[in-house]
Point group: C2
Chain length 218, copies 2
């Protein structure tokens, strides 16, 4: 149990490794080196080796990493070797999209309950799940042992939903609303607000009338 404190940067790379490795399996590639992985992802091979080495010795010197074995190990690290249940609040288009994505995903993360407080939504069905009113959130989370909450409601309602998730005892929240949410330190919050993403892409646009290649060497 050498548990050095693992940085967030490392944790965010693990799912990316998993993605590439899953592609490898599909193409029936059995072994991959940090070099190959690095090429695919534009990452330094030493970084990849170091990332993995935080958690154990998964490779073989002179050979590389066994793809299937490494997938198994990364799944363990990310704790998705077990099924993780997820609740979603907000049965709009985005909520629908996530439920569908989820259906086809082979990770062990399952959206098992959907909530919405709009009368027009309650009782409708998404992907075999009946949309429940918010009043049932706390009980359902407890019953089903749901551990993560997803927020896909308008910004103005997001903090309120977050509060209810916290009350219900989820350990993490994935927030799609463009709002800054306050939750206790022990609850992990992650923002997936696409307006932020778009704005940061805009930064890299070239302003009209400016030359593209000013000392842009690296």
């Amino acid at each position: 149990m050498k548990q050095t404190k693992i940085s967030e940067a490392v944790v965010r790379r693990l799912p990316v490794y998993l993605q590439v490795l899953n592609e490898m399996v599909n193409r029936e590639i059995q072994t991959i080196s940090s070099q190959d992985l690095g090429n695919k992802l534009d990452l330094n091979p030493a970084q990849i080796r170091k990332d993995l080495a935080y958690f154990g010795e998964f490779g073989r010197k002179g050979v590389g990493y066994d793809v299937v074995y490494l997938i198994e190990k990364i799944r363990q690290i990310l704790k998705v070797d077990q099924t993780i249940k997820v609740a979603l609040v907000g049965a709009g288009n985005l909520g629908h999209a996530l439920c569908n994505y989820n259906k086809y995903s082979k990770d062990n993360m399952q959206i098992t309950a959907v909530f919405d407080d709009h009368p027009s939504k309650i009782g409708t069905s998404i992907n075999n799940l009946t949309v429940l009113p918010m009043s049932e959130l706390v009980a359902t989370v407890a019953e089903q042992k749901i551990r993560i909450g997803i927020i896909t409601v308008p910004a103005i309602e997001a903090q309120n939903v977050a509060n209810q998730f916290v009350e219900a005892g989820v350990e993490g929240i994935l927030n799609f609303a463009p709002a800054i949410l306050r939750v206790p330190d022990e609850v992990r919050i992650q923002n997936a607000d696409f307006t932020r993403e778009l704005l940061s892409i805009a930064y890299y646009l070239v302003r009209e009338g400016e030359s593209q290649d000013e000392s842009d060497l690296d």
Copy 2:
């Protein structure tokens, strides 16, 4: 034009500042200090001052930052003081969701064209936009001076769509598909794949049977 190389970390914080500042405007707050901003966002005030100082002197000593003025400046930095046109490929639920979000957003980023190659989608209407076939992508991007592309198609089709966006000459791509895309260096690519986000949240879950508080002090 002091153009030190600005790090990606800085760029990704700017939209967050903008979000808080917009909230301030709504609450008719006129001035904000780096201290206040830092409290709201759990960031070090020195970091915020430094981030802003890369781009100019926007504050007043002893006073703080004028909210409206700072918004204007950050918009300029992010190049959203002008309207930035965006194209979206993939008229599914996620595509719908993004178009709707967009409608209500007050940033100057506008989805002005939607594409999809499924016969059942072509010709339908999303948010006043008619869904066009992929064959019209290149011409439409040129005509409308579209600069950013959003990909909301299944993973397997994503690289193909990316290629077409690149051919059409977009400067940036926001990819929602769980796939690793290859594009030329001059095109900015940003991944917004929610499965990655979910997996990295899972890392922070507490494994059943493990105590939560093992040297978790900081």
